[in-house]
Symmetry: C2
Amino acid sequence: MNIGDVASLSGLPAKTIRYYEDIGLVKPLRSTNGYRTFRESDAHKLAFLGRARALGFSIEDCRSLLALYDDEDRASAEVKEIVEQHLDRIDEKIAELTEMRATLAHLVDACAGDHRPDCPILADLAMECSKEDQLEKSA
Amino acid sequence: MNIGDVASLSGLPAKTIRYYEDIGLVKPLRSTNGYRTFRESDAHKLAFLGRARALGFSIEDCRSLLALYDDEDRASAEVKEIVEQHLDRIDEKIAELTEMRATLAHLVDACAGDHRPDCPILADLAMECSKEDQLEKSA
DNA sequence: ACTAGGGCTTCCACTGACTGGAAGGTCAAC
DNA sequence: GTTGACCTTCCAGTCAGTGGAAGCCCTAGT
């Protein structure tokens, strides 16, 4: 298989596949004309990578997961460990975004959004607020 | 004020402040020895930037918000527009992460996480599944 | 035999928003 | 006068690709 074939099979851009070879995630053969030649197993690995990346795993996580995938004697605990850590990072991000969301929604609500210059959003970002507001915030 | 002073006032690292000058977000003066000299207004802008960045606004959003902050004749609608768009992007991200989270949590639940090699997580990533499983997934 | 096109190759530069570090100038205190 | 903290610039690296240029390879059509 040439790179275009695995690209359509895996859904990954050819550029990305070349990059994955660069960083050692796949090791396709080369035919005499210099073209990369992908085996079935390479195509599987690329599809695996595509799905792992879609689930938000970092490249280094993917590298570990691929190694475990290749290792017949792995302990499933090792896999689970990686996934659980990733899950924790996702939970942190969701919490962070949710907090931002709440603050922003509050600001949007408070802003008239008309032609006048008065804007509680800018006021808040600039912290042009009274002592009461500050106490309220720290509470 | 030197850069160290505004750094502690704004909570931003000095490196970041230099970077913000590089990209034109702040324009401190220079004293004869070459040191940056920050005015009160610069310190305010940096604090503004710190808060906007903490709320997840991109640098380009920050640039627009700062311009509106400086513009006495702004319409608050312009500010609100930027914030609402940002809010939409955040909602998208939360939705994306929440979906990932659900899939991953499902996988973690299904994995024994012991010394044995059998691992539904890897099986799923590899899509080593029967026709029934595929139907179940697409349903 | 020639040419057009599509696919493939490498290499370099760019993204966002910094961060780390090296090499060196400046300043206040001891 | 020297130590140490602070400041300067510049270069390189982060993460995970993406875009583009220059050039080879292969097949189909004329």
